[in-house]
């Protein structure tokens, strides 16, 4: 089980309370598809992904980004059982979606950068540490049921 200090929990909750899940989720997913274009391989049916502008404005990208970050919210509500929270999603990403878990790490790092750009100096080194830890734990949990 992952240990979270009181400070880490507070840093995570403090940032999360101010996050616009729809905007942040959309931005994070769009950046994944822009910065690491090979990740578009998982989204063939999303329509126009031909340019950064197209990706950012794509409604399916926005909707899926929101879905992904909403699920992150579940992890934050259940910091003491992230493994359990992501068990079914892990199976799904392995068996149905066939996503290389390395992509979870990429998205996690991008989310941290998005938060940094939104929160500025408020996103202190201690804050970054807590969030890098969180995205790492989430990525690990999502990879756990792979076989």
């Amino acid at each position: 089980m992952v240990h979270w200090s009181a400070e880490e929990k507070q840093l995570i909750a403090g940032v999360w309370a101010k996050v616009n899940v729809e905007e942040c989720g959309a931005e994070a997913l769009a950046r994944l598809l822009i910065v690491y274009p090979w990740t578009q391989r998982f989204f063939d049916n999303f329509g126009n992904l031909s340019s950064p502008t197209a990706i950012i404005g794509n409604p399916k990208v926005r909707a899926h980004g929101k879905k992904v970050l909403t699920s992150f919210g579940e992890a934050i509500k259940n910091l003491d059982n992230i493994k359990g929270t992501y068990s079914k999603l892990s199976e799904l990403h392995c068996e149905k979606l066939h996503v290389d878990p390395e992509n979870f790490r990429l998205l996690g790092d991008i989310l941290v950068i998005v938060l940094a750009s939104h929160f500025g100096r408020e996103f202190t080194p201690a804050c970054q540490f807590a969030w890098q830890k969180l995205v790492g734990v989430v990525a690990h949990a999502l990879a756990r049921k792979y076989h």
Binding site: R31, I113, A116, S117
Partner: protein, 143 residues
């Protein structure tokens, strides 16, 4: 790898740091040591407390090297040749992990903190690619 547009964006964004390079360097290193404690294993001889002179000094060196690379972005191999030797034969820091991932991530967080919305997806992409290119050059002589 780096398109003309990427190079333009990188030079622009670096220009916006206007004199804050030393702070950017120190902030980047401190965040890296804080977020990824294993990176400290490469600096057992340093005082790694917050604000230490050694972190500031080393941060300044790193950012100066990146600045030089950006000025010579069309010939990274030559611009970073000495550093490439140093990292291959003396320092032997794991290049893909250290530079591409950890240092790059922390530098980008620092840039995002400072630039906010100006750290657009296009700029993000260009910087990420640039750091990958730097990592590749620094690793050229590893084996």
């Amino acid at each position: 790898m780096l398109t003309a547009e990427d190079k333009k964006l990188i030079q622009q964004i670096w220009g916006k740091l206007g004199g804050a390079e030393e702070d950017v360097g120190a902030d980047t290193l401190w965040r890296m040591f804080h977020a990824y404690p294993p990176t400290k294993t490469y600096f057992p001889h340093f005082d790694l407390s917050q604000g230490s002179d050694q972190i500031r000094g080393h941060g300044k060196k790193v950012v100066a090297a990146l600045g030089k690379a950006i000025k010579n972005i069309d010939n990274l191999s030559q611009a970073l040749s000495e550093l490439s030797n140093l990292h291959a034969y003396n320092l032997r820091v794991d290049p893909p992990r250290f530079f591409s991932q950890l240092l790059s991530q922390c530098l980008q967080v620092v840039l995002a903190v400072r630039l906010g919305k100006e750290y657009t997806p296009e700029v993000h992409s260009a910087v990420d690619k640039f750091m990958s290119a730097v990592a590749a050059v620094l690793a050229e002589k590893y084996r």
